[in-house]
Amino acid sequence: MFSVRIHGRGGQGVVTAAELLSVAAFREGRHAQAFPSFGSERMGAPVMAFCRIDGRAIRLREPVVRPDAVLVQDATLLHSVDLFQGLADDGWVLVDSARDPAALGLADLVARLPTGHVRTVPARELALEHVGRPKPNAPLLGAFAALAGVVTLDAVIAAIAERFPAAVAERNARAARAAFDRVRAERVADDRVVVPEAGAPTALAAPGASAASTA
């Protein structure tokens, strides 16, 4: 099972991000469970949402306390909320920011996790450029597809297409692809990691199951 915790502020769309990620995993034939943190929801307050992905049915109903990946939609949360609590030793971190992890004060985290597991991506800037609105979800998920390899970019784009009207989905898909390409190029350059193409198969595949054909 792969568990993701998404942090943001009320109104930024953490719940939508978790849901899109779950739909992407579902479209690849896997089981996924997305749910919000059930806090008091108000604009601007720190909020989070969770997504679990597995090859078999997910029965667990506790919040994600030991995430394999933490996605941060708002870098201003970095030093006010304990964002990385319980993060696995080989976990992944992706922050929406144009600055690099060290500039954000994450050098300790970079040192603790495997090389290349802490990344930033200018998700809002990419969204502004491609969508015209500062909505970080699509680029953040596109970048995540290039990072942990649990969902493909194609599945993320399919999830976006399922959720939004065609024109909006198309612009978001471009933002997601731009973020994916950027992180993929960085990983190849910095870490000499071979990152699969957009549609390559991912880990955690369900034995013989495919929801995509019926979705």
């Binding site: 978790a18 997305a34 749910f35 059930f38 109903r61 929801a211």
Partner: protein, 420 residues
Amino acid sequence: MLRQIEGSRAVAEAVARCRPGVVCAYPITPQTHIVEALAELVRTGALAPCEYVNVESEFAALSVAIGASAAGARAYTATASQGLLFMAEAVYNAAGLGLPIVMTIGNRAVGAPINIWNDHSDAMAMKDAGWIQLFADDNQEAADLHVQAFRIAEELSCPVMVNVDGFILTHAVERVDLPEQGDVDAFLPPFDPQQLLDVNEPVSMGAMVGPDAFMEVRYLAHLKQLRALELIPRIAGEFRERFGRAAGGLVRPYRTGGAATLVVALGSVNGTIAEVVDELRDEGVPVGSVSIGAFRPFPLDALAAALADARRVVVIEKNLAPGLGGALASNVRMALRAHPLPVHTVIAGLGGRSITRGSLRRVVLAAERGDLEDVHFLDLDWSAVHREVARWTERRRSGPVAENVLRDLSAARPPMSRVV
């Protein structure tokens, strides 16, 4: 059809396929997306013919359902928490009149203190109103139970509440195989009312009944519940045959064979319990669990059979009967009257407190060692409790408890707040 879908939307889709003639609801907290999605299905014509009635309160919502059902329409509504309590009088009326309404409860706590999160206080407040109460373990079952609920309600002419954990299920997006319209139509025949307000054959419903007949009418309501004990497993069996998957039934045992400790619970926490059972079984601890699918009627015999070989029972309950313990454990003890076993009550998850694997492991292992008290409060912050009790002792006007505890906890909290 397989969909990755929010629990509330899955329930709405399943309800729509049951072709209700009237859906009524009061669209404010603690309402869920269920009635919002149904409103949309009626507006777009996807659900037709169906009248969607936007009422002025929960009391009105169920009152409209009562009128609609008496007039021969398949009637549906949904609520939770304070909404259910506000309709309490109508809840008793619907059952007393024997009207086969189906209502979803997206289970939540009941205030005060104000709390919008999940527990079973609402369902337990109405446990003896005469409704059949079914509980869903996950969103697949939540969808499937509604299809069964209309069958059960209409065969018995008795209302059915389908309990779906608020937030934990209603707001979770997961894979649900939505029942196909053709299968639902084959499984659930058109509503053929046992009693009907019909101008051509006038009857009156809701007569005043004095001491000479009240006992008999009430007994007949009890008899319907006893018949439901036979009907619920039969309908679950027919459902399985038609839809090819298990859902519903009275009790759902999990790895009970050879188990010394059996954990009993209602609703979605059974998923987490099953994970803990697997972990402990891998470690050689003989543990199993039983999910109660029907709380009313209470399946005394089926539960007694499921618990027969255990040496102790741990009941995880999301409700508190202050001054007693928990409603579920009391009922479980009654099921064991011919075969007494130690039954531990674990009050857990009140007002949305997370129930984690770690905490469940601790109480199960404590029960195994004989170290678990009769009534245990899972993960209770005893120091906060003791400090408030001390304030009571210190002075008469110690102030409102809820505000005191909140202030106390925020003072005790480290500067960087915990995430979960």
